[in-house]
Structures are given as C-alpha cells and as structure tokens.
Symmetry: C2
Subunit: 334 residues, 2 copies
C-alpha cells in the first residue's frame, strides 16, 4: 500500500477496498463487520441506547492515547452513562489527503484494542478522503448501540438531596495532556491522558447498586461543567469538599502556573456518579476493584440549598461558589 | 443567536445548548430525541441493520438539495438497500468557525423534512466546532438503525444469471450538478441533483417481490461502479442495453462535451436492483407508482458469460466492454 492517503482511497473503488482490507478489516475483524451497505445484527433486548460523537482532537496522537482510542472511549462511555452495555459501534473517517498510512494504522489498532476491552463489535464503517487543507489530519465519528441493563435508569434529572457525588479518578488529565502537547510553556511536566473505556467499571457499579441516580462522563468542560449541568437538570444544590477532589500533582503544577481550574479541564476516562448515600460504599468498592476507576472517591454531596449552584467548602469551613462554566473551552482542546 | 458559528458553540456549554435548542431541537423534535448522553429507544424486531456515512460535499448547497438532505438520504438509502425500514438516525456535525447560522438552519430543516418523508426519527446528535480553516464548511456524519423486513435478503453476492437489472431513474444527475456548481465550463445547462430518500419505493418493491436479489444505491462511482461490484461479488457477467440507460438530455450534453461517462457520475437518489425475471414486471409497477422512482427501467440482464465484466450492447448488435472503474472520482465531487 502507499505510504500516504490519496484521494483515490476515498473514491469508493479499488484503492478504497485496499485501504479497508489493509487496515480496517485487519484490526476490526468480527462476524458482524460488513462489506455491504449496512451490517445485519441481532437487535438489543429490552431498551436500546444509541449515541454518536465526533472527534477532531489535534494532535491526533498524544501521551496515553490517540484519536482512535478516544473515539471508542467516548461512545462506549456515553452508552455506559445510560447503563447500557455497548454492543455495536460504527465509525466514519474523514482523512486528509497526504495523511501517513502508518499513523492511520496505529489509530485503527488502538480502536480495535479499546473495543475489545469492553467487548463491543465495530460493525460498519465509512471512509472519505478530503483534499489537502480541507480537513485537519483525521476526523472520526463513532456511533454506538447498546442494551440498557434491566432495572437501571440513570439520568441527569435524577439527582436527589443526600446523594453522594463520586468521581472515578483524578481530574483534568486529558485536557492538561493536550494543552502540553500544543505548547510546553517551558514546563517539564510529564502528564498522560486518562482516556479509558469505562463500561466494565459501570457494569460492576450497577451490579453493586442498580439505584445509581446519575452517571455522566466528564469530557469537554470537565467535571465542573457536569456538576453545573446536573445541578440545573435536577434542580438541586451541590456541595463539594475541595480537599477531596483528586488532582495529579503534575496537573496541579501546570494548572497552578497557568491559572486554570482543574475541574474545568477535560477528562476522557472519568465519570461523575450521583449515588444514594446508602449505596455509596458498595459503589466505591465495585469501582475500586475495576480497571480505570481504582481511584474513585466521594467529592461532595447533593443538598437542598442554592439549587442550580455548586459550592466548594474547605476543611476549615470556608465556602465559595465554583465559577459557572464560561462556555469557552479553556484551554481549547478539540 | 449570533449570525455565525463561534468556537463557543462547540464547547459543550450554554452556547452549545442555545445552538441545539435554536436549530436542531426546533426541526428534529420527536419523542426519542435526547438531551442525555444517549437516546433510549425500543429496539428493532427481528434483524437489525446499522449503517454509517460521512458527508463532505462542497458546495454545501446545490440545486436539488444540500448536505443536510444528502446526509439523511445517504443513510436511509443504505438501510433500504438491505431491505431495512429506517427507524433511527443519529447525526454528528463538525462545523467551521464562522459558518453562517442561517445556512446551518436550512441544512437542519432539509434533514428534518427528508427524515419525515420516510418516517425515520433523528434521535441523537453531536456538535463540534473546528477552528477557521480546520474544516471546509460543515461535515455531517449520519448513522442509521433499521429493521430488516421479514423474509427479504438482498445482498451483493445474490445476483443470478437471468436476473433483470433495473435502474430507478436517469443516471448521473448528482455528479453533474456538483460539477457544474464548481465550474460552469461556459455551459448553460440546468441540472438538479437526483438526491432523494428511497425507503418508501424500496418498501413497495419488496412488498411486490420479496425475492429481489440485490439492491444498491449508486452514489460515489455511479451506476457503473455498482455494476462492476455486483459482477465481482456474485461472479456473474452483466449485459447492458446501451440505448435503454436513462440519461437526462442536459446531463448527456454536459458529459458529451467533457468526455465523461454518465454511468460513472454519482447519483444520490438512484438504485440498481437485480430482480428474478419473473418478478421484474411487479417490481417495475411498484416503482412506477412510488415517489422518486417513476422513471425506473430495465437496463440489462445478468449472464453466465465473462464473469466479472460489464458488456454494453447497442441496438445494431455491436458489443463493447464498459471500462472498469478507475478508482478515481471523475469528477471529484466530495
């Protein structure tokens, strides 16, 4: 095969088939993967979940992952947040003419490995090649279909006063990683993205406590944006215990120097869960024995006070409002 | 709302919600459309079909449609080709900073109208904004889930000698339209895209004859590429009756002047069907009384001779090989 992607790879002819065979089929191979216009699949039983997400991260490769891993994690985690076991994923690529084939190979390989970890099948794909300068490197859109576990019903409007708020690991690593890949700011920090597929952990948590009220993945906008969203959707107040928020010390160093709030840095492998107080210990135990969520901790609780707001409290009892999301991604990471 | 798309529209905060509410919810509104991470849906019964397609057409608006209409037609038609009733569609947008909001409004409106025509619900979406120059205008990826009709099984490998080959209307209009939008070549031709959602027509055809062997939509690469694909996948020969291939006279004029083969120009609302001879009349009757397929005709048949090849015959009996697809899109239209 050529060393770089050409327009002919997107024309739907022989070169497209070579690309599909040489890279995508090689890694994605499974009994459902189709060469026809659509994959033919056994449908989910009960309630079906469907979610889509587009990925335009630059650079396409970064410490801890690449856009391929990210594109599977994003959709797997969106399904997981609904309590849905991911069954099938489709992926659509838009690739810039001249993109290195070996880089595309690494991206596809990461997609396959990530999908394999949570047992989801990549069943259908599409490849378009855009002219040089018409797209920045590679964009990937993944769409997932999942089967919602019976008897679970996590949703953004379900948080209740008294709920414990759990975050499944240290916050802001992905955003900080991309930021440093773009500009080192003269710093030596060694940070890797938290990018991870979280279905297995969610499955364990829901088996331990099917009554989890809310599950959200903190991606664009970070944990802070999720907290404000839930405070708004559930019309409740949120009180955070500032000292308990886990932040990697390298991330803390970078954000301290740049004046950024780690709660507003993107994560790609962190969930925020709102759990009835009586179930919190069982959920924590399940998360601690699952991969990617060993560092889960309670960071606060839901209150009746100041609905729609997030208050931060310190050990010595001072209280301050977490500034609401600005609507801008700071730093801009996709 | 602002007049142009800004980076904040893609940041996942308030402006993103304004954009979703002001445009996407306004048009896509239905009981399944979700604000959560994934839509919750009743699953298909029996066999499920899943298909994805990315759209990067430039210009985004053209006579006969726009990228929004195209993005729904493409996925609806891919599902229809499997004999699947389209149930749910998700759509992911990547929009360039500075893109006009009113243009996005027209695109979303066309998506909603096209989806409505075939009864498919747009259930889930994603919006990313790329920096100026990072993407050319707007890219849309749609993914569809459908329910395959019981007892039907069209597939690319199912063509058999004796099958009649039907094309559902005149060929090459979409490719010709985009070509002229890019460069008039000093011509006055007035051509509109054939872009159309074809599920209702396929449904009627399959009700008339569940034994249709192959259904393919002739998109990138046109009817000629589909014929070579089926000749290859089914290991059969194809004999075309050259005079019977329907070509709009304006398209014929343009392709004649530019030396292009209309069979290799993209369509976005044309199907190629391979039908057992005994069912051909019933299928034609069903297509003639459906919207978008009134002009369906038999253009040839499947033979035992020269497997893998497409032969064109004229009224006076001369035979010539249809040149195989080059692998390049000529003209390049996406």
């Amino acid at each position: 095969m050529e060393q770089t992607i050409t327009l002919a790879h997107g024309a739907g002819g022989k070169q497209t088939n070579d690309l599909i065979g040489g890279i995508f089929k090689k890694y994605f191979d499974n009994k459902y993967l189709t060469a026809d216009d659509a994959a033919v699949l056994p449908p989910p039983v009960g309630r079906m979940a469907m979610s889509t997400d587009g990925f335009i991260v630059s650079p396409a490769e970064f410490p801890g992952g690449n856009i391929g891993k990210l594109s599977i994690c994003g959709t797997v985690n969106d399904l997981a947040c609904m309590g849905a076991k991911p069954l099938y994923i489709s992926c659509a690529f838009v690739i810039e003419e001249g993109f290195p084939v070996e880089k595309l190979d690494r991206i596809a390989k990461a997609m396959a490995e990530t999908a394999h970890e949570v047992g989801v099948s990549i069943v259908s794909g599409d490849t378009k090649v855009a002219g040089k300068g018409q797209v920045d490197g590679v964009f990937i859109t993944t769409t997932g279909v999942g089967e919602i576990l019976e008897g679970v019903n996590p949703a953004g409007a379900n948080a209740e006063p008294g709920d414990k708020i759990i975050v499944t690991g240290d916050v802001g690593r992905h955003g900080c990683t991309i930021l440093l890949e773009r500009d080192r700011f003269g710093m030596e920090a060694n940070v890797t993205s938290d990018c991870a597929p979280l279905w297995n952990a969610v499955n364990a948590a829901l088996e331990a406590a099917p009554d989890i009220h809310v599950i959200r993945d903190a991606t664009r906008g970070g944990v802070g944006t999720v907290l404000y969203e839930i405070a708004d959707q559930s019309d409740v107040g949120i009180k955070l215990d500032t000292e308990s928020i886990p932040v990697n010390h390298e991330v803390a160093g970078v954000t301290g120097m740049l004046g950024l709030e780690p709660l507003y840095l993107a994560c790609e492998g962190r969930l925020v869960m709102f759990v009835p107080a009586k179930s919190a210990d069982a959920v924590l135990a399940a998360l601690h024995s699952s991969e990617h969520t060993e560092g889960a901790v309670v960071i606060g609780e839901v209150t009746n006070e100041m609905p729609g707001h997030v208050v931060m409290t310190t050990e010595i009892g001072t209280e301050t409002l977490l500034p609401p999301p600005s609507g801008e991604l700071l730093p801009r990471i996709c």
